[in-house]
């Protein structure tokens, strides 16, 4: 299980989904705070899920409120960079550019959501791995 987790993690790094910030977070974890990364990731997912749904809602409406969207994206970008989700961050930046430009179509190409999903999968896997360790 651990190996699996490690592999997934590595691939995420390789693909650019995670960057060195994530490593920083891992370094913050220690015996006194053994689940730090997990806690942070969980928090991130919750928060980003909320943000994403806000964004989707904003996109569904007929007229895009670019300012609001920009705000959401900014928040999302902030979270993502803090946790080291670099691809998400990149997508957010792009998205914001679209917002600025007022490019409605740009909004629709939002693959980041999928990436976030992948990230979440990874985290879930890692969490499972940890649980397994604990039980072991």
């Amino acid at each position: 299980m651990q190996r699996q987790v490690a592999l997934i993690k590595q691939s995420l790094f390789d693909q650019g989904y995670l960057d060195e910030q994530f490593i920083e977070l891992e370094e913050l974890q220690d015996d006194a705070n053994p689940n730090f990364v997990e806690e942070v990731a969980t928090l991130y997912f919750k928060d980003s899920a909320r943000l994403i749904s806000n964004i989707e809602q904003a996109l569904e409406r007929g007229s895009f409120d670019f300012n609001r969207l920009d705000n959401y994206m900014h928040q999302f970008k902030g979270s993502s960079t803090s946790i080291g989700a670099s691809k998400v961050k990149t997508e957010c930046t792009m998205f914001r550019e679209y917002c600025r430009v007022g490019n409605a179509e740009g909004f629709l190409t939002i693959p980041y959501l999928r990436r976030v999903q992948m990230f979440e999968d990874f985290q879930a896997t890692e969490e499972r791995a940890r649980n397994v360790e604990k039980e072991a």
């Binding site: 910030q21 920083e24 977070l25 370094e27 913050l28 220690d30 006194a32 705070n33 730090f36 806690e39 942070v40 928090l43 991130y44 928060d47 705000n71 900014h74 928040q75 970008k77 902030g78 979270s79 960079t81 803090s82 946790i83 080291g84 961050k89």
Partner: protein, 681 residues
């Protein structure tokens, strides 16, 4: 790591920070650990990460996800934090707005952060006064060094000019540490301060007490624990100094040799150097009538009028500076001023920050209307740019004002009134100081420069304060030497001046060296008692932590906001000092004046509260002049000073003679010139 539960949740920081205050002393030992950080960010992920990182840096963290909550936390616990880190984009309040609020109300360093790294936003952070701007993702390395901002801020506030390299002005944000704390705690902290930046609390103390308590018993209370006690240039000490200088030859006297000749344990070369500088200026002033050290000088030479000038500038400056730096106990300032006032009590200028520059003139002119400090000080400001800077640091009265004052104050008879006035000025200054603080901290120009009375304003309050008091003190000291012999009480006051010496013109930011503050404490018993009182009063403020900072902060805060809070503390302090001073003061006839002054001082003090504790020491030390009751520490100092100086004229002449300087008319001497500097602001 730091206890995870600490500061968890919003608003829980209060608990941790307050807990820290009590045990602050212990925590301080390991600066920068224990730095109390408030983190504000609406992003929970980021908030959690930051908290974790900060805890790893051994900081005490409080997190907050709403700006409003952060503000209320800060307001409730003014001294509870050292630094604030805030996100730029927040839903309930713009980060920059929070930045402004914090800067104005609490005067804490604020670091902005954001995922947005566009230049315009970063620039906005700069223009709004953020001490730093971090780009997300925030790394540990960036957070590890945030303590530097705290130290830097403290330094600029205290602008400890000289020595005490270890004084780290611990950038403690905790301005609010209550003056009392600074005084008392400072001692404890100070002792450890000498570890560079180790004990940030102490450093603040150190800076406050930069001057080594040289031969000043009184200073012991403050400096007992300080590693670098403030040097109080008592009359005796100054005499030793003068003797050494004369032996070497004024022109040839170098600090090192003087130090050797004096052979005073604990005295550093820097102390001597700064004192020498002042002394030289003083001599120059005496010698060259037209020396225009800074308005004051001229005034000095020309007699009363002259004396006012230089005195004021000097005194005001020094005193203020001293006052600011807390080095000069307000009382000493007052004393100095009083001493200096022997002539026109220009001192008042520096003594009272209050409303800035009390009209020195007004102060002098009236004996009883001391309460004018506030006014006087304000007046000064207009007159002298310096004053403005000092805000509250009534650095020496502007020469103009002095002149006016001089005229008003007859040399002889009104000495007392002058003293009182000076005290008043002092108080006023102190008051002034406070208000000014805010602007100053932002970037007070350290005036330290040798005095020029005008310089004082440069001091910009913070630094000026410290220096001012010193300068003023110096001047009188020279005079006081003579006088002291005759009058113990007055001498005390003089001491402070003496140190300041001749530098009326010394704006004295460097006052710290002057050690006036401690001296003011007055070696005399009376003063000692006073000092104790003062100290106790300071204790009253007690904010545990960083004495220095807290005091400073207190002062500043008062100005900006916390007047109430401080006032309480101050009132406590005041009452103490008052009680003390009253007893001591009674000696001087300036009772009336002092009372009046005290009133003024009181008002001012309140604002000063932070500063007051320090100043109080000054005043009281001075000599118990009852007059100096000065509520505001400074006032007391001034008052005491005044009282002492009632005989100043004689003292001055004596002193001058001693110094080999033609005792220019007593009036001329008027320590006032000095005192002004000393005027504890």
């Amino acid at each position: 790591m730091m206890n995870p539960s600490q500061g968890r949740g919003l608003g829980s920081g209060g608990g941790s920070s307050s807990g820290r205050n009590k045990g602050g002393e212990a925590v301080v030992e390991m600066f920068p650990s224990g730095l109390r950080v408030l983190v504000v960010d609406d992003d929970p992920t980021c908030l959690m990460i930051l908290e974790r990182m900060l805890r790893t840096c051994l900081y005490e963290v409080t997190k907050c996800n709403r700006a409003e909550m952060a503000l209320s936390l800060l307001r409730k616990n003014k001294h509870g934090f050292d630094i604030v880190i805030s996100d730029v984009h927040m839903p309930d309040m713009d980060g920059f707005k929070l930045l402004e609020h914090v800067g104005l109300e609490m005067d804490l360093p604020v670091i902005m952060m954001s995922a947005d790294d566009s230049k315009s936003v970063v620039l906005k952070g700069v223009t709004h006064g953020a001490v730093d701007y971090l780009i997300k993702p925030v790394r540990m390395e960036a957070l590890k060094n945030i303590w530097q901002h705290v130290v830097r801020k403290r330094r600029s506030e205290w602008s400890v000019p000289e020595h005490s390299g270890s004084i780290e002005e611990t950038g403690q944000q905790q301005q609010q540490r209550g003056p009392a704390v600074s005084e008392d705690a400072a001692d404890d902290n100070a002792s450890s301060v000498n570890n560079e930046g180790n004990n940030w609390r102490s450093s603040s103390n150190n800076s406050r007490k930069r001057k080594e308590e040289e031969g000043d018993e009184q200073g012991d209370e403050d400096a007992s624990n300080l590693k670098k006690p403030r040097v109080v240039w008592s009359v005796e000490l100054h005499q030793q100094f003068v003797a050494a200088v004369n032996q070497l030859g004024v022109e040839k006297a170098v600090p090192k040799k003087i130090l050797e000749l004096m052979n005073v344990p604990g005295l550093t070369r820097e102390n001597v150097a700064s004192h020498l500088q002042k002394y030289r200026i003083y001599l120059r002033r005496l010698g060259g009538v037209s020396q225009h050290q800074g308005n004051l000088n001229n005034s000095f030479m020309t007699g009363q009028d002259a004396s006012f000038g230089p005195l004021s500038s000097l005194n005001g400056f020094d005193l203020q500076a001293l006052a600011v730096t807390g080095q000069l106990p307000a009382q000493s300032l007052a004393q100095l001023q009083a001493a200096g006032l022997g002539r026109p009590a220009m001192v008042s200028k520096s003594g009272l920050p209050v409303s800035s520059v009390v009209d020195e003139r007004s102060i002098f002119s009236f004996d009883n209307s001391k309460p004018r400090f506030g006014d006087g000080i304000g007046g000064h400001q207009t007159q002298q740019p310096q004053m403005n800077l000092l805000h509250g640091v009534p650095t020496g009265m502007e020469p103009r004002q002095l002149a006016g004052l001089q005229q008003q104050l007859p040399v002889g008879g009104n000495r007392m009134s002058i003293q009182q006035q000076i005290a008043a000025v002092r108080a006023g200054h102190s008051g002034m100081l406070m208000p000014q603080q805010q602007p100053f901290p932002r970037g007070p120009p350290s005036i330290r420069q040798p005095m020029l009375p005008n310089r004082i304003t440069e001091r910009s309050g913070f630094s000026g304060r410290s220096s001012v008091p010193e300068s003023s003190r110096v001047l009188p000291t020279s005079y006081t030497n003579l006088a002291t012999q005759q009058h113990s009480s007055t001498s005390v006051a003089f001491n402070s001046f003496q140190q300041e010496l001749p530098v009326n013109s010394f704006p004295l930011p460097s006052a710290p060296g002057l050690s006036v503050p401690t001296q003011v404490r007055k070696p005399h018993s009376s003063s000692s008692s006073y000092q104790e009182e003062v100290n106790s009063s300071e204790a009253g403020f007690a904010t545990p932590s960083y004495d220095m900072f807290s005091n400073r902060h207190n002062d500043w805060d008062l100005r900006s906001i916390a007047f109430d809070a401080h006032q309480d503390a101050e009132s406590v302090a005041f009452s103490n000092s008052e009680a003390f001073s009253s007893s001591s003061m009674s000696r001087n006839n300036n009772n009336n004046a002092t009372v009046a002054a005290t009133d003024l001082g009181r008002n001012q003090q309140q604002t000063l509260s932070g500063m007051v504790p320090h100043h109080q020491v000054y005043g009281n030390g001075g000599g118990g002049g009852s007059s100096v009751r000065v509520k505001s520490e400074r006032d007391t100092a001034a008052m005491a000073f005044h009282e002492q100086y009632s005989n100043q004229e004689d003292l001055m002449s004596a002193l001058l003679k001693q110094e080999g300087v033609a005792p220019v008319v007593d009036t001329e001497f008027d320590f006032d010139a000095y005192s002004i500097d000393d005027i504890p602001v």
